[in-house]
């Protein structure tokens, strides 16, 4: 038996959370150090898993499997493949940097870090789960601390509204997905006689045709997958911010404290997209094939719409929140292309967006903590006061607007390639409008560049107000470490895409095999 890396990664945070709660309340510094140690351990282990994953072998590695509730076919089953591995690494990066930049939280840091770690456990758990029940288990663990984190430590003006909106959206979404998953469980069980939540076995059974039957709905017969795919897909995609179920997310981002915004936009939204891929698309490929072409239109709206709204925002957090909606739209857009390039880009975009949006929220949080405003037009001249923050924000902005040399470009380029070729006659053909929508969605790149550059210019350059000139100081060393970590990830993937490309390739090839090659 090898060292159970994945279990350790997924359970370390929750154990840390319990340990943190055992600290005396007034030992704030010790709590912080312990939290950082826990986060560093997660990052270290996820880096280890990332770099020791055997790309040439592909498939699921670091697999662990134990019976959990055998009567119901529930197991504890974890493993990573080329798609989930970068996600685990991303979570490691975000928890590490999130703890670093939350150093200054003085209101009950013990409870704050504990909840943050519970959240992290849930996220890690979803990414490594190969059992459907277990996936939902961790998924709910990831969602519930959000409510507390936002409602207690959030921005006083909107925190209750936002926390409630977010929680309701996500719970309702997950309930739909759960119903869909149960439908799948019973259908497979009925067809094969084996009731199992094991996703690999479900996929096998699906491939063998276990879901090839019709169900009656209002008197008409429709294929099982066509009925249930949208329910499962949208249930998860809500968390991925799909239009028109996106609008919990900007409110949530804004109200959340900085580290939670980073987690939320950086990792949690990927959870939705990832689960939509794993449970929706990969387990019901026939349904996906049928529904994704029209879902592509929604994702297109996501991309363009999000960028336009982001442009009118003057509150920096709202701006980034809507830009996340737009960029997560690119992820779903990639999924909806049904071809290799789209999936490659989508998987890369999940990582790229996670890192860059974490950076954007982190840097805006740093500015807010010192200048006490997030209004773009009230700021100015911050480059002089905090050059590192400017560098970090600018790098993230460049990545976000698809500048070559940064991770964002390595993601956007294949997505556009996929979208384009899905509309062209040939092997990947889906429907002609794919190409047109791809061209139009390129507008979003220009708009993105516009609002980010204007933000950089207003916030960091120009005149500094008298008050800020006197009271705003530079960020701490820990903040700089966080900025450096995130920037390194963005540039490394942007300049050396082979650090991630081949791994993602091995993962999505398995995903695409369910569509019969391509």
């Amino acid at each position: 038996m090898n060292f159970p890396f994945l279990s350790v990664i997924a359970l370390t945070p929750i154990i840390m959370a319990v340990l943190l709660l055992a600290f005396p309340e007034d030992r704030k510094s010790e709590v912080r150090v312990a939290a950082l140690a826990g986060a560093a351990a997660c990052l270290g282990l996820s880096l280890w898993v990332y770099f020791t994953y055997d790309v040439s072998a592909g498939g699921y590695q670091f697999v662990e499997k134990f019976a959990w509730i055998p009567k119901l076919g529930i197991e504890y089953h974890v493993g990573v493949d080329g798609v989930s591995n970068p996600m685990v690494l991303l979570t490691g990066i975000v928890i590490f940097t999130g703890v670093l930049i939350s150093w200054g939280i003085d209101d009950r840091p013990r409870e704050f870090f504990a909840f943050l770690f519970i959240l992290a456990s849930g996220v890690f758990g979803v990414f490594v789960s190969l059992d459907l029940f277990q996936l939902f288990f961790f998924y709910e663990i990831a969602v519930f601390p959000m409510y507390l984190l936002i409602a207690i430590w959030g921005w006083k003006v909107t925190r209750e509204y936002a926390a409630m909106k977010l929680t309701l959206f996500l719970f309702i979404g997950s309930v739909f997905s759960l119903i869909g998953a149960l439908a799948m469980y019973f259908a497979i069980g009925k067809a094969t006689g084996v009731y199992t939540f094991d996703m690999l076995k479900i996929a096998e059974a699906q491939a063998a045709g276990a879901l090839n039957f019709n169900v009656s709905l209002f008197g008409s017969m429709i294929p099982f997958e066509r009925l249930w795919f949208p329910i499962v897909f949208f249930g998860f995609a809500v968390l991925g911010g799909i239009y028109p179920f996106h609008n919990w997310s900007p409110d949530g981002h804004v109200a959340a404290p900085t580290a939670v915004s980073m987690f939320h936009a950086g990792v949690l939204m990927k959870l939705g997209a990832f689960a939509a891929l794993r449970v929706g698309i990969m387990l019901m490929p026939e349904g996906a094939r049928f529904h994704l072409p029209w879902i592509y239109v929604l994702t297109f709206i996501n991309v363009v719409y999000g960028s336009f709204i982001a442009m009118r925002q003057t509150d920096l957090k709202y701006m980034i929140g809507y830009s996340s909606v737009s960029h997560m739209g690119l992820v779903s857009m990639g999924f909806a292309t049904l071809n290799y390039h789209g999936y490659l880009g989508a998987a890369m975009q999940m990582f790229a967006h996670g890192v860059m949006t974490a950076m954007l929220f982190a840097t805006v949080g740093m500015v807010y903590d010192r200048a006490h405003t997030r209004q773009r037009d009230e700021l100015g001249g911050m480059a002089k006061k905090m050059p590192w923050v400017m560098a970090g924000f600018t790098i993230a902005a460049l990545s976000s607007m698809g500048m070559p040399g940064f991770a964002g470009f390595m993601a956007e380029f294949p997505i556009f390639m996929g979208g384009w070729s899905a509309g062209q006659p040939g092997a990947n053909f889906v429907a002609p409008y794919y190409s047109w929508l791809t061209i139009i969605s390129a507008i979003a790149i220009v708009i993105t560049a516009a609002y980010l550059l204007i933000a950089v210019q207003r916030v960091f350059f120009g005149d500094i107000s008298e008050e800020h000139d006197h009271h705003v100081g530079d960020v701490t060393v820990l903040d700089k470490v966080a900025i450096t970590t995130l920037a390194t990830a963005m540039i490394a993937v942007g300049v050396f895409p082979f650090l991630m490309g081949p791994m993602v390739k091995s993962g999505i090839e398995a995903a695409l095999r369910v569509f019969g090659g391509s």
Binding site: K165, P244, N247, Y305, F308, I309, A310, M311, R312, Y340, H341, L344, G381, A383, K384, L398, M401, M403, P404, G405, M410, F413, P414, F416, M417, W420, S421, Q424, G426, S435, T438, I439, A442, I443, I445, V446, I447, A449, A450, L453, I454, Q457, F461, G462, D463, P497, F498, G501, P502, K505
Partner: protein, 727 residues
């Protein structure tokens, strides 16, 4: 070391110097420029070596130097990153690193190295130094180095993706450098600040870039590769692309890709209708204007078109109908050439004139490509880089000189306005003579300037290929000569019109040396391209083995282009407009020099046309009206307020309200049906208890009394029962 390794090394030194300056030298000014210049010089030496190897290699072109490595895995292969040097690249390697190096040296003087740091400047970072050395000196060299890296990367790239990477790095550096003086503000609110100009430049070129990216995507989709060698040197691929119909009826895939890529060039090389950013980009420091907006970056757009020419012209043969991308290039290029030169005539700012002149000259090259004059375009690209860099650096020197005067006299005047100058030839002789050479080269002064030979070649080709393009180019050549003379006369001739001009001073040797070197090339670079059929001179240079440009660059193409027959008419036209324009300019501005405060002599005869030209045909206002405002409206009103806030949030809040209402109803119902009865029961019990309380007095006597009364009562009842009275 194998030549392939050397080619990989060409872009590396500037990148290295970017990091070195940024990380280790950002407080040491001397170290910063030393690193930048030394490493740039290394790049230049390697490039020169590669260039010399290339021109001495037999049949270079059929054989090229190249090497590539896989970068991003794709479906069945990988996108490669690689370098390649073919004759065209070799030509670029001759002038790009050289001009970069000269501009680096020039920047040392431009930013007053050696001057003391004005304490006032330290406090107000982000504005140009008032007097003394630039406070952000190190940062300037870091950005400039990064820019040089981007340009060299683009030049040596062997595929479109890597070229695009270099292209975008330059776009980024252009943004950073235009906005270099990010703290600068003007009293006039209508005047664009460097920060705004930077965003404008980035955004405008970005529009073109997005199309270019789509073009790359489309090309990749059809060929499965982005390598130049596999696409451009492969007749089968080109043939296939030219034959496959595209999505749009009537266009082949090659044409569609060509048009999309051309859109990128329109942005980068500031062609109509995306020309608006370049004049405003003059807000950057002058070496930046010279480097980015004359010698390198804007040329990169033309270079990309020259590079992609086999694709742009796929399916076209000499003398046949032009392909759609060529037609687009021909007309947009020629139109831009004329259009920009008319605006240049009415500009007051010494750098703005040059900016419009650059747009116009780039239009020349694009037009040349459009009519198939591949070599002429490449030739003009190189000569123009030399003389335009010279002119920009010269103008920087002029501004620097006048600024010196401004500091001396404390006058409040714009040191870039040519109407505040005059008679600088006496104060700044080196600047004057080199500027004169550059100006004459730009005007195409016959026989002795490089500009003449390259422009003449374009005109000769245009004369054969397309009369309309020819005449448009001839008119714009005339205007070019006219505004150049206007500029020279206003700046250097006559009497000083302000005290500042009177106290102007020649600039440091670091600034004048690059001017002298560039003016050498502004004269002699033309002789390599003297047509062989040219009377007398052609023969002469052929015997000297100098004019090999045509043959050498022609080797880039599979089908070696034929030189056009010598024709005396375009030659005469070229001489007449060049000399005529200069003469007319001298008659208007040099014959009777302007006095201080006197308006432009053109303003009166041209009337409203002059105003129109002065305001650049109101394109900024027009774009604001048709693009910027609608985009704002969509984002503010349509998607944000109507869709997000009213419809989606409205629906959500409606649902929430209904849910709350249901909750309130249930709460009420619960109160009446479930909550109230037990409460009433409890109330009753309580009432009962309260009622009985009065008898619980706590006094033994009362209790005994009650006991007695009860006993009596019970006794009475028993008595009555036992006695049979009650049954």
């Amino acid at each position: 070391m194998p030549i392939e390794t050397l080619i990989w090394l060409i872009p590396v030194p500037p990148l290295l110097s970017f990091f070195l300056i940024w990380l280790f030298a950002n407080r040491n000014k001397a170290l910063s420029h030393t690193i930048a210049i030394v490493l740039m010089a290394i790049s230049w030496i390697i490039s020169l070596y590669v260039f010399l190897t290339a021109i001495t290699t037999e049949h270079f072109g059929a054989e090229v130097f190249g090497h590539s490595v896989p970068w991003l895995p794709t479906g069945d292969g990988a996108l490669n990153m690689g370098v390649m040097v073919d004759p065209l690249t070799a030509g670029m390697l001759f002038f790009v690193p050289l001009t970069c190096l000269l501009i680096f040296i020039y920047s040392v003087g431009y930013h007053n190295f050696g001057g003391r740091l004005d304490p006032h400047d330290v406090h107000s970072t982000g504005s140009p130094a008032h007097n003394g050395v630039e406070p952000m000196y190190s940062r300037f060299f870091a950005f400039l180095s990064l820019f040089a890296f981007g340009m060299l990367l683009l030049v040596v790239a062997d595929n479109l993706l890597m070229m695009f990477v270099g292209w975008e790095i330059m776009g980024l550096c252009s943004y950073l450098l235009i906005g270099f003086w990010h703290g600068r503000n003007y009293d006039d609110p209508k005047k664009i600040t460097p920060r705004q100009a930077a965003v404008k430049a980035f955004m405008t070129t970005r529009v073109g870039d997005v199309f270019m990216m789509l073009g790359i995507v489309y090309l990749y989709f059809h060929t499965g590769t982005l390598s130049f060698r596999e696409i451009l040197y492969n007749e089968d691929v080109l043939h296939h692309l030219a034959e496959t119909p595209s999505y749009i009826v009537g266009l082949s895939v090659a044409a569609m890709v060509g048009l999309l890529l051309f859109a990128g060039t329109v942005g980068k090389s500031a062609q109509f209708p995306l020309h608006v950013w370049l004049p405003d980009a003059m807000e950057g420091p002058t070496p930046v204007s010279a480097m980015i907006h004359a010698a390198t970056m804007v040329s990169a757009g033309v270079y990309a078109m020259v590079r992609m020419f086999p694709l742009m012209s796929a399916g076209w043969h000499h003398g046949e109908a032009l392909t759609p991308p060529m037609m687009a290039m021909g007309f947009i290029g020629a139109f831009t050439a004329l259009f920009a030169s008319t605006i240049a005539v009415a500009q007051r700012d010494v750098k703005k004139v040059l900016a419009y002149s650059t747009i116009s000259q780039l239009g020349y090259m694009i037009a040349a490509l459009g009519i198939g004059a591949y070599i002429a375009a490449a030739f003009h690209l190189i000569t123009h880089a030399f003389f335009k860099a010279l002119l920009f650096l010269g103008s920087g020197s002029v501004i620097h000189g006048v600024e010196h005067g401004v500091h001396h006299t404390h006058e409040h005047i714009d040191p870039q306005d040519m109407f505040n100058m005059g008679a600088l030839r006496k104060k700044m002789p080196i600047t004057f003579w080199t500027f004169l050479i550059g100006g004459f080269a730009l005007s195409g002064f016959p026989f002795v300037t490089a500009g003449f030979w390259s422009k003449d070649e374009i005109l000769a080709d245009a004369f054969v290929a397309n009369q309309l393009v020819f005449w448009v180019l001839v008119i714009s050549a005339f205007l070019t000569a006219f505004y150049t003379m206007r500029q020279i006369a206003l700046t250097f001739l006559g009497e000083p019109r302000t005290h500042s001009a009177e106290h102007a001073q020649e600039t440091a040797w670091t600034m004048t040396t690059p001017l002298v070197i560039l003016s050498f090339f502004a004269i002699f670079a033309g002789f390599v391209g003297v047509p062989e059929h040219f009377p007398a001179l052609g023969e002469l240079f052929h015997n000297l083995n100098v004019n090999r440009f045509h043959e050498f660059i022609g080797g880039t193409l599979i089908e070696h282009p034929e030189a056009v027959e010598f024709n005396v008419f375009p030659l005469l036209a070229s001489i007449v407009v060049g000399v005529g324009g200069l003469t007319l300019g001298w008659l208007v501005y040099g014959w009777k020099p302007l006095k201080a405060g006197q308006p432009d002599p053109l303003a009166k005869p041209l009337g409203p046309i002059y105003t129109l030209l002065e305001n650049k045909y109101y394109f900024d206002e027009l774009y604001d009206f048709i693009f910027v405002r609608p985009a704002r409206w969509i984002s503010e009103v349509l998607v944000y307020q109507v869709m997000d806030k009213n419809i989606i949030d409205g629906f959500l809040h409606g649902v929430a309200r209904v849910a709350v209402a249901i909750g309130i109803f249930f709460k009420g119902a619960e109160k009446v049906i479930i909550n109230d009865p037990p409460d009433r029961l409890a109330d009753f019990t309580q009432w009962l208890g309260r009622s009985f309380r009065v008898i619980q007095t706590g006094r033994i006597q009362s209790y005994l009394l009650i006991v007695m009364l009860v006993a009596v009562a019970f006794g009475g009842v028993y008595y009555l029962m036992l006695s049979g009275l009650v049954k």
